[in-house]
């Protein structure tokens, strides 16, 4: 057997087990499973790569932490159009707090995949969050930024981040637009149209008219979502006007 095959073959069985366990956690099929392997190696395992360098999840944790910060920052920038820098920074700290990351890692039971020479009780209380960050780093390397962003949305933002709860304030672009039109004495109208999509689902197309001009439109699976999206698009157009 060739030297390269020897190196690679020894991995395939272990990787097969990891693959089976990680697909349900990720919700997608990894391209390169060996990247994920590193996300679960604790420094106590004293693993080395072919070059004799120590391998553990800490480098991936560094990477994941940065990507997570960028994705959450972009989310907050969009979702909190009125928040100043201080507010955005505070909210980001709340979302990516050690407590929250630990909870996420624990919910996904990432510790089950940990390779360590010490018992799970002795790897530190932040192990769950650290593994979650390392997993984010691995996803970035395997699938790129956009994909990683989708993962973070599905695992953190959609199920857990409730800006209403975090700041005690509802952000609805539709109400923002309505309030603004009323303040400015502009007449507004949401026109909506229901249609059947090619995928068999019903879709709602909503057009927002202000003073009889079509400012924006959006298409979504519910009327409420379509109105919200059209309002948000109108908001962006109008927000670019600075007095």
């Amino acid at each position: 057997m060739s030297f390269l095959n020897k190196i690679i073959k020894s991995r395939s069985e272990k990787n097969g087990i990891l693959y089976a366990k990680i697909v349900p956690i990720l919700g997608f099929k990894p391209k390169n499973i060996s990247i994920y392997e590193k996300a679960f190696i604790h420094s106590s395992a004293k693993k080395l790569d072919s070059f004799g360098n120590e391998v553990n999840y800490e480098r991936l944790e560094f990477l994941g932490d940065s990507i997570l910060g960028a994705v959450i920052s972009c989310y907050l920038f969009d979702e909190a159009p009125h928040g100043d820098e201080g507010y955005l920074t505070k909210m980001r700290s709340k979302i990516v707090s050690r407590k929250n990351l630990n909870q996420l890692g624990e919910d996904l039971n990432l510790i089950d995949l940990l390779i360590s020479k010490v018992s799970n009780k002795h790897v530190g209380k932040n192990i769950h969050g650290n593994l979650f960050e390392a997993l984010v780093g691995a996803i970035y390397l395997d699938k790129g930024y956009k994909f990683c962003e989708t993962f973070i949305y599905s695992k953190i933002i959609e199920p857990h981040v409730d800006l209403k709860k975090l700041e005690g304030k509802v952000i609805s672009y539709k109400s923002l637009m309505i309030e603004w039109c009323q303040k400015m004495h502009y007449q507004f109208e949401y026109q909506n149209n229901e249609e059947d999509g090619l995928d068999g689902l019903k879709y709602f197309e909503v057009k927002l008219f202000i003073n009889n001009e079509n400012i924006s439109k959006a298409r979504e699976v519910s009327k409420k979502k379509a109105e919200e999206k059209a309002s948000r698009r109108a908001y962006y157009v109008l927000q670019n006007h600075i007095d």
Copy 2:
């Protein structure tokens, strides 16, 4: 004139000036110039958007800071394959230090675009770096992550980041591969082939053979670059083997 046109028209002239000034700084044509306008508004200008919210560069600075952190982290992760988390964190701090960011903003003369009610002497010594971060945030919003990454590479990493200088150590994947082959008593060979590209340039295709097996290949405009890239690809294949 319709209400929307009125809102938008007042911007077009000012935006024309900004556009002319910013294209040489960016090195590309912005899609939506009004995003960039906000990157240069100082809080002292007390600007408001259509909704009566205060507008200044600080929100974009928050966003840019995060994107910058993510891009530099990914760069370091790739370029310093031996660096542990502590090393990567230290290097990132050095690269995105206030001093470096201020220098970058000053080199691009971003302060020339600043809209402020106080004199440039009184906007604080970190204004250059803050404007640079805000500009990165604007580029992200206008063109997306990948594009922003390219901008950061061209403005920071390629001209200014010299890991050799930062850590006093050369990272050459070719030497890593050669050292490793020698240590393992593997026979290695770089085969290279020169060819004319469709663009009229000469290209070098390099194949790295270890024990007569082709491990990786790369095509670049110089033999040195192609060898380095092929070595790096081989390194990644082999690094995935963990003992």
